[in-house]
């Protein structure tokens, strides 16, 4: 017990030290920060770019999550249902429908089978053919909604239906479900790729900005080295700056993007794909990691850049 307790205490104190360091980095060390001259213009550019990148990142994140949600909803709803369509001459319709229901009810794995009433079928056709449809005069096929349960042998069921109900066509929706789900998961992949590109561009942009700041301060760096500053001390002055700027810029960009998503008009009834863009519930916490990631990216990009520059100074 004491061993585990000791370990936990160790981990906690290590975490405390790390958090302390991170906080110290953010708060800054007034004295150390002053050794690098302030730069107005490039600082604003870094802020702006970090903000713009964070804005885009939040949208890419929302896109990925929304397509993921849509894909899983479609596959879940559609996977569990199928439709049996019976196209037969008018005089055989009723007989075949009754036979089909009999077959379905006696098949293990079919949770339920229900014939759609004339009214329901009229409703389904109304958007295309108008409301005053004389259903009884039209050779409208009989539709049976099948809800699949566990252990349904679809191939066996199709074979039985083919033998006993010649006019029946069993449609488990896979023909149009699969391409939709494929498209959705491809879209989600694209969202993640966009996020990756945004992170890489942020790193590249901060490397460039830090590189130009380091080059502009070459004399300052040389002077600091001559009076005994370590590389870490000099690098930290730059790293702290760019980390703070990236964090602040990204925080503003993230807030604006979240606001924009929250204000997107909703059209829940049609369940449209685009209007589903956004976060749900605890998902709203997810974009908050964007500023953190921007700060971490800035930290490492500036650090690498600073140490590269410092190696050229004695």
């Amino acid at each position: 017990m004491s061993g585990i307790g000791g370990k936990v205490a160790g981990v906690l104190s290590a975490l405390k030290v790390r958090t302390g360091k991170a906080l110290a980095l953010l708060q800054g060390d007034g004295q150390a920060d002053r050794v690098v001259p302030p730069t107005g213009f490039t600082a604003n550019l870094t802020l702006f770019t970090a903000g713009a990148m964070a804005f885009l990142a939040v949208f890419a994140l929302a896109l990925s999550l929304a397509t993921g949600r849509v894909a899983s909803r479609w596959s879940e709803e559609l996977a569990r249902s199928a439709t049996l369509r019976i196209s037969a001459p008018m005089e055989q319709r009723e007989a075949q429908a009754a036979k089909a229901l009999e077959v379905l009810e006696s098949t293990p794995g079919v949770a339920s089978a229900r014939r759609l009433s004339d009214d329901e079928q009229r409703d389904l056709l109304a958007p295309w053919l108008g409301v005053d449809l004389p259903m009884e005069d039209l050779p409208v096929p009989v539709l049976i909604e099948v809800v699949e349960g566990e252990g349904l042998d679809v191939a066996g069921l199709k074979a039985r239906l083919a033998g006993e109900v010649p006019g029946a066509v069993y449609d488990d929706h896979s023909r149009w479900r699969e391409p939709l789900i494929r498209a959705a998961s491809r879209l989600r992949l694209l969202g993640w790729v966009a996020l990756g590109l945004i992170a890489a561009s942020t790193a590249a942009m901060i490397t460039l900005a830090a590189g130009s700041a380091l080059a502009a301060n070459a004399r300052v760096i040389a002077t600091l080295r001559l009076v005994g500053a370590t590389d870490t001390y000099i690098a930290r002055a730059f790293v702290r700056r760019f980390t703070q700027r990236a964090l602040l810029g990204a925080a503003v960009g993230t807030s604006l993007a979240m606001l924009a998503l929250a204000l997107l008009p909703r059209a829940e009834t049609t369940g449209g794909f685009l209007t589903g863009l956004g976060f749900t519930g605890a998902g709203w916490l997810l974009p908050l990691i964007v500023p953190m990631l921007a700060a971490i990216t800035a930290f490492w990009a500036t650090r690498a850049s600073a140490f590269r520059t410092l190696r050229q100074v004695t």
């Binding site: 004295q31 004399r219 300052v220 002077t223 080295r225 001559l226 009076v227 005994g228 370590t230 004695t314």
Partner: protein, 231 residues
């Protein structure tokens, strides 16, 4: 200061720039508390010699030892730490132009992580010592050449280093101020610091010799020689 060790030791040191050899076969041991002048014609390599001593340049061949440790294998952090024990007055004094003078003088303390606020009294005294107490808040570019040189000396000694290397510290100041700077260096030497002054001002050397047991090193024809006792 009867310590047996050498603060700076050069052994068969040579240095060449792209073209040819500037310094060759230089061997020298500087004992703690010694006072040396370094003379020689311009371009003979006085500044290069000092740069070898504070590790801005690495010798092309030979060995440099600082505080009894071979400096050739120093890591970058060891170089930084060694420089905190060496105060350097550069010929072209580099300052951080965006910081007021007092902060520039405190810079070695700042980068060493010392609490500058605690040393405020010392820094004020140091500024008075070099006659710059009225310029505490001035930015370095607004100072004259002489003032910059005095400020550079103040910055060089703020860490109370073991060694002070000064490259033409009196080059830009009038006779009186030159004497004052020299007096400061002599006082530091009496406190046990090792002093090396590169200069071609023979009057300065003569004055110093009346105050302190100074030895004169001369760089000529790429070699370092111990000059005669009289000048």
């Amino acid at each position: 200061m009867g310590r047996g060790w050498r603060v700076i030791e050069l052994e068969n040191v040579a240095y060449s720039y792209g073209g040819g050899e500037l310094l060759s076969d230089i061997s020298l041991r500087l004992a703690p508390g010694s006072f040396h002048f370094l003379t020689g014609p311009s371009g003979a390599g006085k500044t290069t010699f000092l740069k070898l001593c504070y590790l801005e340049l690495a010798p092309t061949s030979g060995r440099v030892q600082l505080f009894d440790k071979p400096a050739t294998g120093f890591s970058r952090n060891e170089v930084a730490r060694a420089r905190r024990r060496i105060g350097v007055v550069h010929q072209d004094c580099h300052f951080l132009d965006h910081l007021p003078l007092a902060e520039n003088i405190a810079l070695p303390l700042t980068v060493a992580g010392r609490n500058v606020a605690e040393e405020k009294g010392n820094i004020e005294e140091l500024l008075r010592w070099v006659g710059l107490e009225k310029h505490t808040d001035a930015l370095p570019p607004s100072l004259s050449g002489g003032e910059r040189q005095r400020a550079a000396l103040a910055r060089a000694v703020v860490m109370s280093p073991d060694i002070v290397l000064a490259d033409e510290p009196t080059g830009n100041v009038d006779w009186e101020m030159g004497q004052r700077l020299l007096q400061l260096l002599v006082e530091l030497n009496k406190m046990g610091k090792t002093i090396v002054i590169a200069t071609h001002d023979l009057n300065l050397i003569r004055t110093a010799k009346s105050k302190v047991a100074a030895r004169v090193l001369r760089i000529a024809k790429r070699r370092l020689q111990l000059a005669g006792a009289d000048l």
